[in-house]
């Protein structure tokens, strides 16, 4: 269940990225100046500031990726609300479901008496963030689309949740694994890969997705990596023309491809060069990206020890 955004909202977010970075840098600089006080406020990806006070005890996280990151840094037991799509880690299923995460039902969120609400920073959620703040609930929205976003937001969550040590530990462990995989695949031949996200319309992993980064780290070359969107719609004949060596697919997609006349026209399908991947890694760049890169590298380069 990849979270897909429209190109327009993506462009808006890209436009915002520069200001957000400046704001974050500003906050960090402020932190240096008042080292004894520690930073008392942070800025989220909507540009709103949030004061850091006592560690929150009731967190509603309406983005599966932030939820995973909270569990990874040990704040999982304090999560009291999640989206319909959360499946990692397994214990998250016991947390109450608060809908799909975009345009949330604000009253349902307030009913859980949260002291921190985390949203995905898409234009769809702007209104909800404003209303939650107006209701006196600390709210922060983050866009986590790339691996660098994961690193950035994990460290912020560590400060918000009051455990920066655990956040650094998580980030260091993921970065170490990614570096190890990157070094191991650097000298290997990079097969061309098609990674479909949806079949009708045909959506591919594009250059704007963290999955494209993951694929490159794992020693593959995305045939649609030149397209800037995270999940561009592509024409089937264009796919045929780009003639990938390997196709990544979920087990269910693989069965459909095998039975489809259209997909049988692809060399990779005819030659059974399909690598079955766990489709849940497409949800977002969580703390699992290191493990995902490792398993992807092993699947793309069988016979090579990692």
């Amino acid at each position: 269940m990849p979270v897909l955004r429209s190109p327009i909202s993506l462009r808006l977010l890209r436009a915002l990225r520069g200001t957000v970075l400046l704001a974050v840098l500003g906050a960090v600089a402020g932190c240096d100046r008042r080292a004894t006080e520690r930073a008392s406020a942070i800025t989220d990806d909507f540009g709103d500031t949030l004061r850091i006070g006592a560690a929150p005890q009731r967190i509603v996280s309406l983005n599966p990726t932030t939820t995973e990151l909270l569990f990874a840094i040990g704040a999982g037991p304090r999560v009291v609300g999640r989206t319909t799509y959360d499946i990692f880690p397994a214990e998250v299923r016991a947390v109450p479901d608060m809908g799909p995460g975009l345009r949330p039902n604000v009253e349902a969120v307030l009913a859980a008496h949260p002291d921190l609400v985390l949203l995905y920073a898409s234009a769809d959620n702007r209104d909800a963030a404003r209303r939650l703040r107006a209701s006196g609930v600390a709210t922060a929205a983050y866009r986590i689309d790339r691996i660098a976003d994961m690193v950035r937001v994990t460290l912020i969550l560590g400060r918000l949740a009051g455990d920066t040590t655990a956040a650094h530990r998580t980030v260091d462990s993921v970065s170490a694994t990614l570096d190890r995989v990157r070094r191991a695949t650097a000298a290997l031949p990079h097969p061309s890969v098609f990674w479909p996200l949806w079949e009708s319309p045909l959506l591919s992993v594009g250059g704007g997705s963290f999955l494209n980064e993951l694929l490159e780290i794992a020693g593959g070359r995305n045939v649609f990596g030149d397209l800037p969107q995270p999940s561009p719609a592509v024409a089937f004949e264009e796919l045929l023309r780009r003639d990938p060596d390997i196709i990544l697919a979920s087990a269910a997609s693989n069965q459909r491809f095998a039975a489809s006349d259209r997909f049988q026209t692809l060399r990779a399908i005819r030659d059974h060069h399909v690598v079955v991947v766990d489709s849940t890694i497409a949800t977002g760049p969580s703390a699992r990206v290191g493990a995902s890169a490792l398993s992807l590298a092993r699947a793309l380069h069988p016979g090579v020890m990692f």
Binding site: P201, A233, L240, R241
Partner: protein, 323 residues
Amino acid sequence: MRSSRWVLLALALVVALVAGVLVGTMHLSLADVANGVMGVGDSMPIAVVRTLRLPRVLLAALVGAGLGASGAALQGATRNKLAEPYLLGVSGGAAVGAVLATALHAPLVLVPVAGFGGALVAVALTLLVARASGGRGDARVVLMAGVIVGAFANSVIMVALANADASAVRGALWWMMGSAADATWPQVRALALFVGVGVLALLAMARAIDVLALGDETAAGLGVDVVRASIGVYIAGALLAAGTVSAAGLVGFVGLLVPHLVRLGGARTHRTIIGAATLAGAALVVYADIIARVALPPAELPLGAVTALIGVPFFLVLLRRLT
């Protein structure tokens, strides 16, 4: 309509079909395409032509044929120059049936059947709403009822999609914009059946539609059972809407535009109008699909967006000439 016009129409369709198979992201020569159609020579052109392009071009042609014919018949039977399956709520009803069947994971063959069910319910609702407001005989009231039923169908689809995940919603929205990109041979065969039966039924009712087009009182005076004849046209229209919507989503403005074009071309009786609209609709949608394929590579445009972009300005010009 003069026979030279029929030849021109048939020629436009043949050129469209050939161009449709010839044009694409992969560069294939005329010889490659011919070999591909025959199934001889290199395996790549055969695969591209037989598996990707032929079913797609034929599906687009059948969608256009069905929409053109049903638009022509509905405009005649309702004496409304703005009538078409989309505006009468028939396409919307078909979409609800097809979306619900897909959401319930019904087998693929049942999707157009569910669409037909939805289209029939929409027709019945449209007529009931029109009757309840005391204007079953008034073309404008029927059209307004159709727009209301179409809006209702839209909200049913939105409710059905409320809890679907983002990719499914994007897929459904894409499908609602219309596309022939995913055409398969089984779809082409199923749609050929729907369109064949629907168009033949409308041609058989062409005389009755001629009389209906004169007005209900005149038609009744001439011994035509107005209610029965209208219902026959609506059922055939529902069949065509269900087939096209299930195969290619909502493709608007073809049913609206094409009958006007063939009337401008000199078609007078509904046998001629429906027959010519079938051919012209087929050609128009094949050309629109070619534009959808080549306009913004490597992406594809939604077919419904292309037909609307062509159809709306053209229709505004027609409207000025008609009023």
